[in-house]
């Protein structure tokens, strides 16, 4: 049951082969047993989950059907949940209980899903290894000496260890795709604007996007069906007709044109990652796809451009944490400014402070044009590269991350080295494109991720491309031996 797909779980629940209470209990018990070593969950709501499960069972009993009804899931602790803690991985919000639900939480709740608990993450989603969380690092279920990736590392570890059938994540520069790759999952960052950001604690608003993390493309498609949709409370939510992301999953891949950016296959990628990615591309050729070399000449500028734009937006967004309306307030302070400065100094961790300071600097008088405007111009060049590439191909493929999961401490001393772990994912956020990571093999006994990037609103096609591969291969069904 712990390895069942969402479709299989939905069928088992609908046919009353298992109740939602039984299924929820199974996962809650696994969390109780395995989470102390993994630290994937920050909070677990057993009673609330069992109440939701019982409600789902009553709906099934009354003849109710819905694809996700009664299936448990976990939310990244960046999504506000009414009446439950929402910490964002920070001391600043360690005792925060949201007065409202995020749009994504409302949606999945309305779909009948059962919330097991909230997943650990890098503080305010700033990190690529989960080492910046106030609640301690998450262990990679494949090797506890290694990081799970970040920032949605708790979500990734929870699903990889089968502590939850699926989870939500958010992706500002790779925070869904990179941990999905490092933990052997399928993770989708939708086109910017497809999933509402309402109630999703903001990091860099022009880049942040929520999405599903699960065991397969089919599971992600089912989840995206429930998560996507217009929401007037998010000013950049897009008004588009609803799509069925499951509709095209089985379409044959004959004629698919795969673009391989030469910049994604240069030096900097580990040999084992390269071998797995190239084997996956060979498999796609067998499935009827053709490949064409494309170029993203400005993609090398994406990490530096991102580390101007994202901190600038973060410094503005995180100004709301001032110890006045919610969140941490220092115990002792003098005047109002002193209260702000001490509350923020105590409430934020080192990486969050670094990014706020960088952001404040690049937005400050005299530097705005040289840094912020310059980075925004380069952002347009990066987006234009993709537009050009998609004239020659339907999807772009390459590695999700340059290496498999690395050891704790390997990159935490040098922020720039850590930033470079998102070298293949960040350009996708800057352009606002959808990006997907699927497992495609192993290196050093750790999972390797294949990244699939589509044109704007190309999610259905990308999920189809991933699903056909997962029908032909079995990388996505592997699970860590220790977690069985």
């Amino acid at each position: 049951m712990i390895n069942a797909s969402l479709k299989e779980l939905g069928a088992a629940l609908a046919q009353k082969r298992i109740s939602s209470v039984e299924l929820t209990t199974l996962f809650l018990d696994r969390i109780e047993k395995l989470n102390p070593a993994l630290n994937a969950f920050v909070s677990v709501g057993r009673d609330q989950a069992l109440r939701q499960a019982a409600a789902a069972d009553r709906k099934v009993g009354a003849g109710g059907t819905a694809p996700l009804l009664g299936i448990p899931l976990a939310h990244k602790d960046i999504f506000c949940t009414a009446g439950r803690p929402t910490t964002c991985g920070s001391k600043m919000l360690a005792n925060f209980v949201s007065p409202y639900d995020a749009h994504v939480v409302e949606r999945l709740d309305a779909a009948g899903m059962v919330l097991l608990g909230k997943c650990n993450m890098d503080e305010f989603a700033m990190g690529s290894s989960n080492e910046t969380s106030f609640f301690g690092p998450v262990k990679n279920p494949w090797n506890p000496a290694c990081v799970p990736g970040g920032s949605s590392g708790g979500s990734a570890a929870a699903v990889a260890a089968r502590l939850a059938p699926a989870a939500t994540g958010t992706d500002t520069g790779g925070s869904i795709r990179q941990p999905a790759a490092l933990c052997g999952l399928t993770g989708l960052k939708p086109t910017y604007g497809v999933v509402s950001r309402y109630g999703m604690i903001a990091f860099a608003s022009s880049l942040d996007q929520g999405g599903p993390m699960a065991k397969s493309a089919e599971d992600c498609a089912l989840l995206l069906n429930a998560m996507a949709g217009f929401d007037a409370r998010d000013s950049t939510s897009l008004e588009r007709p609803a799509e069925d992301y499951c509709g095209d999953l089985d379409k044959p891949l004959a004629g698919l044109r795969i673009g391989l950016p030469k910049e994604f296959f240069g030096a900097g990628m580990d040999a084992g990652v390269r071998a797995a990615v190239e084997a996956a591309i060979a498999e796609y050729r067998k499935l009827g796809a053709t490949t064409v070399e494309v170029s993203l000449p400005n993609s090398g500028l994406s990490v530096p451009a991102y580390y101007v734009i994202a901190p600038a937006e973060a410094s503005s967004n995180l100004s709301r944490f001032d110890g006045v309306r919610y969140g941490h307030r220092a115990a002792e302070y003098g005047d109002l400014n002193d209260m702000y400065e001490k509350s923020r100094a105590e409430g934020f961790g080192a990486e969050v402070k670094r990014r706020i300071l960088i952001g404040a600097y690049v937005l400050s008088h005299g530097y705005y044009d040289a840094y912020y405007l310059k980075a925004q111009k380069i952002r347009r060049l990066i987006a234009a590269d993709f537009r050009e590439a998609f004239k020659a191909c339907d999807v772009v493929m390459g590695p999700t991350a340059p290496s498999v999961a690395f050891a704790f401490g390997a990159k935490s001393a040098d922020p720039v080295q850590m930033y470079l772990s998102d070298i293949y994912t960040i350009a996708v956020n800057l352009a606002g494109l959808p990006g997907l990571s699927i497992p495609c093999g192993f290196d050093k006994e750790l999972p390797v991720g294949l990244q699939i990037v589509g044109p704007w609103f190309g999610e259905a096609r990308m999920l189809n491309v991933a699903h056909r591969y997962q029908q032909a291969t079995d990388w996505h069904v592997r699970m860590p031996e220790e977690m069985k």
């Binding site: 007065p99 007037a232 580390y307 109002l336 400065e341 706020i356 925004q376 347009r380 922020p415 800057l430």
Partner: protein, 95 residues
């Protein structure tokens, strides 16, 4: 461009984050390391390129100027560090 200790103190004040004198030097070095990394952007010719502020070009939606929120003062203030009579309390700013 390289930040001095005074620059770091000024930025920290702008960001309303207290940095102890002991942390200032390390913070300066870390920020300079990051700024040196982003410096490569300066070499790119961006003449005539419009800045891209957002991923998707959409026009800001407008709505009628009417109250759409319910009054939830009690729920919102229940999570505040300090309130009194429906107001948020902060140190005195006007003597």
């Amino acid at each position: 461009m390289s930040l001095s200790l005074d620059d770091v103190s000024r930025i920290a004040r702008l960001a309303r984050i207290e940095i102890s004198p002991a942390e200032t030097e390390q913070t300066r070095d870390q920020l300079n390391h990051i700024l040196a990394f982003v410096e490569q952007l300066q070499a790119v010719d961006t003449t005539g390129i419009e800045p891209m502020a957002h991923a998707v070009d959409v026009v800001q939606r407008l709505r009628p100027d009417a109250v759409t929120e319910a009054d939830r003062r009690d729920a919102f203030q229940a999570i505040a560090p300090e309130t009194e009579a429906g107001l948020y309390l902060v140190p005195r700013v006007v003597e």
